[in-house]
Point group: C2
Chain length 508, copies 2
């Protein structure tokens, strides 16, 4: 969930002022409403050292009535705490109904720092995750609002900040041995954090990733997250009261407010540099080399019995078909299969939405390519209302679990998003209409979907963030130039296979 | 969940006939209704070798229309299956809407036989559990009915059956090396099964334990389980249609049918031999010895930093107070504390129901005794309707998780149920009323609760089955003779501590 972050995001002073002035009173009001409605709130801050947890908590509480919250700094366990189960200290620091508790690093310490420092033994990790998930589920089932915030910076930025702190007597004491070690071995520590995020990003307590290089941006985004989450819960409880019903489950949470906060929400697609391109000759040259390589690697995969799952998604006319064609051109047809995914037929509709994809998963040594995938659940089905909100929100975890199962069974899993801009799409649509051989490719539905471009963009961005994992990364393919796109796809697949074969060699 | 089973249960031919004649048509009708409503059903049979999975499946399908179900025997993975993630074979064998699939051993093989045979590596186990839980949650979220049946027999019975099979050429081939090995190491294999049951006994897919020594009894109970589960789902879907609502969550499942099936439902309490007793002299003698021992062990616990959690529940006037008094009489008051649990005060009511107990848990080396416990959730709160059905059903897992956290933090956890019969209770109530010094002990509420004896008995039986684990066993104390009860409590605590200290020694 960290891979696809855009850490370059910033907010100008004026933008910042405006956002805060809008949100600060909102949060104050929401705190009072939570108090009146007896809603308990826990806000957990996690993230990398020097990412600014302390600073951000300081900013957040400016919006809160001090009589209604407490802040807990979670350091090494005290002797007293060591003599109890690790969750005990958090049970004892739990807010009562109507109060807010803020945690400067939290119960996740056990599977993060303590794990990195080997204080948490290998065999304890699985059990710790179990305890944490059951802890959070129990509390939220009981009406707790649980806001989990992860502050992300990169290795370079972290180094810079630590050095700055070290450079002055007043602050150097704040830098521990551990901080420096975790910076040195940033990659390893990041993997631990990635696993934690994926395992604990639950529908009832989702993670909010905050790009924390620009402090103003981070503060504003945290304000927005807190305001939005509290508003959602207050609205939910109010509706429940109106309905005079008392079963938590009977209320569907209100729609997330969107758009207006666009500046703050992720936008991976916007980042794609669509000017990237190759000349025809360059394309020809690279294509030939890569296809030869692919042919060779395909045999290797078969001998080593490594399964490969490739998923293709993207805008209509984004170039999926062309890329798949070039990818498979030189491959042995007995060793791969391409599954075009249409809207489900009767038999498929009579099963779980993942069923048809599970059934088609490749066996060891084979490659399966999906032209459109299970991600339809969180795109078209979400936007067209073919499934309920609960269903598509649940789907992120269901999909991550499925891809994790594939990966831990030894599969290479890659997912490509073919990105083009709106004008390019229109150009391609028109071209298709004018070309009699291609007219079949373009339907009125394509034009209708086009009108929902913004909704799709939002859904796609959320999808990329929530489901891009080390096990199964998303690759955004800059697609305005078809040549460039096809080469990038081929190159990515080749690189992934070569990397895996290297690992396998090491093992032997 | 296996400890408290009564494997001596039987059903006479006539009782059996009657039950089956009543349930068989019911099940047939329910199958048709599931078909019409498009409800998919999976029935998984697990349990010990030679417990009669095959036989019982044979009996069950007699009630089913063969056009509507298929049976899958889950053996060693085929080569094809080995080349896929382990859940793949079950995704491919999934019933479509309206159909029933029956599994002769199931996806649990991975964490049972394969684990016992080391085919599933240690480090894979945790991940396998994760995959299984997420698999079952996805399906049930999607409307699948998942009936999990565990057939239990004991080591002796299993040995007898295996030998019988071996004795004849026609059947000897059915006994594998593995069967014999698992019988020889029954205890180890049982522990693996216990862990499996506890980890996967979810609200959305609970386990049904069936005492399978008497085949007639087992068949009848399985019929009852299937009929009841399907009826519940059909009723739920119907209500949803009537309400014209489409959110699964919005319907609370119908009340479980009870009583009538009493013969089939657990009855641990009924088993208690209340004639057990000690003479005054015998009591005095044992009491003195045990209290001395306890005094010594208490010091050992402190030195070894082992925490101890003792919970006491039981009928009003069941003798909790007296037993606790004798238990602690010779103990160093600095090393233990007794928490009487009254109905929650305002602060406690402002927190999660487990909060006040978490807060009071002992630190390493200390003993905490709870006079009445967190089990109020699944007894008085359940019966008096102080919490919703979802809440008390959820509580079994929440409580098991809490006790597991305590145990894996090194605690000894024991739970005592002080059992007396209804007449003995009346005798004690009257005695209290007549004794001016004890009148305060008896209130009108005690008499009111007494009227709900049967409801409580049912709730207690379910509680004992679902929450008695190797980590934290329930001990039913035969309490009609106070002398006997007090000694049994002391003896049990002493034994548990000595056993633990032995382990610790081994480790060193």
């Amino acid at each position: 969930m960290l891979e696809k972050l855009d850490l370059t995001k910033t907010l100008s002073k004026s933008e910042y002022k405006e956002k805060i002035m809008e949100l600060e009173p909102k949060i104050g009001k929401l705190q009072r409403e939570c108090k009146d409605l007896g809603i308990p709130v826990m806000i957990a801050f996690e993230g990398y050292d020097a990412a600014g947890k302390g600073v951000q908590i300081g900013e957040l509480i400016k919006a809160l009535d001090p009589r209604g919250f407490e802040v807990h700094a979670v350091k090494k366990e005290t002797e007293e705490e060591q003599m109890h189960p690790f969750l005990w200290r958090f049970w004892t620091k739990m807010p009562s109904k109507g109060r807010i508790a803020i945690y400067d690093s939290s119960w996740y310490r056990k599977v993060l720092i303590d794990r990195f420092d080997k204080k948490t033994k290998k065999k304890e990790v699985a059990d710790a995750y179990r305890s944490i998930c059951s802890f959070e589920e129990q509390l939220t089932d009981d009406g707790m609002v649980l806001i989990k915030i992860f502050l992300a910076i990169d290795k370079k930025e972290q180094k810079k900040r630590l050095e700055k702190l070290l450079s002055s007597k007043e602050t150097s004491w704040r830098v521990s041995e551990g901080d420096l070690k975790r910076n040195k071995e940033f990659g390893e520590y990041e993997a631990i954090n990635e696993e934690m995020l994926m395992r604990t990003d639950m529908e009832y307590a989702p993670w909010n990733i905050v790009e924390a290089v620009d402090r103003r941006f981070a503060t504003a985004k945290i304000y927005a997250i807190v305001a939005q989450t509290l508003a959602g819960k207050v609205e939910e409880v109010r509706r429940k009261e109106r309905l005079g019903q008392f079963k938590e489950e009977e209320i569907t949470e209100p729609e997330k407010e969107t758009a207006q906060d666009k500046k703050l929400t992720e936008s991976i697609l916007a980042k794609a540099d669509l000017s990237l391109s190759y000349s025809k000759e360059e394309y020809r040259k690279r294509l030939e080399q890569l296809q030869k390589k692919m042919e060779k690697l395909h045999g290797e995969l078969y001998r080593r019995r490594i399964p490969v799952v490739l998923g293709f998604e993207g805008w209509d006319a984004g170039g999926k078909g062309g890329a798949i064609k070039r990818l498979t051109q030189k491959m042995d047809p007995r060793g791969y299969v391409v599954h075009p995914t249409a809207s489900p037929n009767d038999i498929e509709r009579a099963h779980h939405y993942l069923w048809r994809f599970w059934v088609d998963m490749p066996k060891a040594g084979h490659i399966t390519i999906f032209d459109r995938t299970w991600y339809g659940r969180v795109m078209v089905e979400r936007i067209e209302g073919f499934c309920t909100k609960q269903e598509w929100q649940r789907a992120y975890k269901e999909i991550n679990d499925m891809e994790h199962d594939l990966a831990s069974a030894g599969a290479i899993v890659l997912k490509f998003w073919m990105q083009i801009d709106k004008d390019e799409q229109e150009r391609r649509f028109r071209a298709r209409q004018e070309n009699p051989d291609k007219q079949w490719k373009i339907t009125d539905e394509d034009w209708r979907n086009r009108e929902k471009w913004d909704q799709y963009e939002e859904a796609v961005n959320e999808m990329l963030i929530r489901t891009s994992t080390p096990d199964a990364p998303w690759i955004v393919v800059e697609g305005n130039c078809k040549y460039y796109a096809r080469i990038k796809v081929l190159q990515t697949v080749v690189d992934a296979i070569e990397a895996r074969l290297k690992e396998e060699k090491k093992k032997r």
